[in-house]
Symmetry: C2
Subunit: 340 residues, 2 copies
């Protein structure tokens, strides 16, 4: 048996962009013995990455759903992607996804699958760097106190450019030229992508009922940051980063995304601008820091493949808490200086 | 139902030292609804931590095994602790342990339980800081390239003292006075404890057949380090730390524990001396760093409690690879300067 071999399960891919291509290459390199049987795409004639089996391309979602035992959703968006996942889950199939938006905004619809552990979404947050699994697993041994995380690579890149003296529009244009930012960059630079990811982490470790609307209302992006503000932060040896936080406030868990000043001593300040970082504080475990790539085709495909291995072995996926974690009595969260 | 409630399962504790006491307190604070039904101790008259149910204390292992549905082993050692765990596993019970020594040295005996996922040992490496779970889970989405980890808190403390100018004997005596080091400190300062932990990580992510003897033969401790050597490292802004590494060498995975020089730019050099750190490089995910407390009663109990939650929910524990991960072709591992 080869390393990681798991039999001839038929996999259905929804979407075959850069992550899908990287996943097909990983599956082939690992000789998993799975078969990528159906690949849903909009345009079958578009060129695809080397590992994508062109004979499996189809524009018919029904073919993918009917002919696949495990579904991997990489098409993105909160509409059709979510509808197809829900149908596959309702039909008893296991589903792997990298789609933070649909889970953040339509979480309740996925509740039965989340409770059953048939939905896998490690790739939705920080790509292949462990985030979903630790918060739904090992770190549950402690009561949560607070969490702070750098979750968006595009904002990191732009902030790094601002540190070199570029203005926001120039930095954004460069990020778009390099393929880091979409033509419509608002999901990234307005903090929506980070808010989607934070919502998932917060529901796993703090409050399963946290609403998307509440997080969205506490979200601000980086468009308003000027070179002068960045320069001032750097004079102190610190950095400005878009940080998503969960912390106790007024008897409830508050989740917010906003640019903050990180002093040089802060654990999240040390990461390079191409890395994401997650800082968790728990009552028993203390402070845990996890850093690594937070985006990119290969790191994202790495997480998808790990989830696929779990799905194929029928290991249950992450389940949310059954009730909100209790507020820590008299605990003062470590404040971060918000940049207005 | 309270946060995390899982019913009235009867738990049997083997050992009730500082970690056992901390665990009993966490269980009570979380209102898990489990019952610590039996607690095996050597001396029932010795004072115990507040949370330990004194009525459950017994010196009879048979009572614990017969009357408990889940066994939590915190007594340590490679003899009786291992024998009792193996008997519980053979009887179909799930077992949680913090015992890295017995798993490193008697791994083959635990093979059936490891394959079945009925043995849980997150606490055995880096306490409640995620280590076992990521290597047996998310990080399996990438082929491993190399791993470097700071795994022993006592050595970290002593090396921190050496950095202030103390000599080894003085630093060791202070570590013993503070309770960081045992009266017989050889497991820590000769690198054996780190080698036990590294062996587990290497088997989960690199080679399931890696022998304890091979790792032990590549292990050197910190007794020979002089203040002059430490001082020289600090002059470059770097640090000397006891690091366990796994990397490809001559067509096989080599695992070694030894004091190395970490330049200031190295990811593991930034951690405070009271923290452990794990750096994993994979082909798709790139470099992932996880740091946090690596010892202590509460952080260790945090990992035990997380494992206990999994065991109670019958979520499978970590399983080793089925075959060694392939050597990366032409890959040059990042060398670390060994201190002779």
């Amino acid at each position: 048996m080869t390393w990681g071999a798991v039999g001839q399960t038929r996999i259905g891919l929804l979407g075959a962009g850069t992550v899908g291509g990287a996943l097909c290459e990983l599956i082939a390199a690992r000789r998993l013995g799975v078969q990528v049987a159906h690949v849903l795409v909009r345009d079958p004639d578009k060129p695809r990455a080397a590992g994508v089996p062109t004979a499996a391309l189809t524009t018919d979602p029904e073919e993918v759903l009917a002919g696949s035992e495990v579904i991997v959703e990489l098409m993105g968006g909160t509409g059709l992607a979510g509808d197809l996942m829900l149908r596959a889950l309702a039909a008893g199939k296991r589903v792997v996804t990298a789609n933070k938006a649909v889970l953040a905004e339509r979480w309740d619809a996925f509740a039965p699958a989340l409770a059953a552990g048939t939905l896998y979404f490690e790739a939705a947050v920080m790509a292949g760097t462990p985030a979903v699994a630790p918060l739904a697993g090992v770190l549950r041994g402690s009561r949560p106190l607070e969490l702070h995380a750098i979750l968006n690579g595009t904002c990191n890149y732009i902030l790094g450019e601002l540190e070199t003296g570029a203005d926001f529009e120039t930095a954004l244009a460069e990020a778009q030229r390099l393929g880091y930012a979409e033509a419509d960059p608002s999901l990234d630079v307005d903090g929506v992508d980070a808010a989607h990811k934070l919502t998932l982490l917060a529901r796993l470790a703090f409050d399963p009922e946290l609403s998307w609307e509440a997080v969205r209302a506490n979200t601000r992006g980086i468009r308003h940051l000027t070179p002068a503000v960045i320069k001032e932060a750097m004079e102190d040896g610190g950095r400005i980063r878009l940080v998503g936080s969960v912390y106790p406030e007024g008897g409830a868990w508050r989740a917010a995304v906003r640019p903050v000043y990180l002093p040089p001593s802060h654990a999240l300040a040390g990461s390079a601008s191409n890395r994401n970082g997650l800082l968790f504080r728990g009552d028993a475990v203390g402070e845990v820091l996890i850093t690594g790539a937070g985006a990119g085709a290969a790191p994202t495909a790495s997480a998808v493949l790990a989830d696929l291995l779990d799905a194929l072995a029928a290991r249950p996926g992450p389940s949310p808490l059954r009730a909100a974690a209790p507020q820590p009595d008299g605990y003062e969260a470590h404040p971060l200086g918000e940049i207005k």
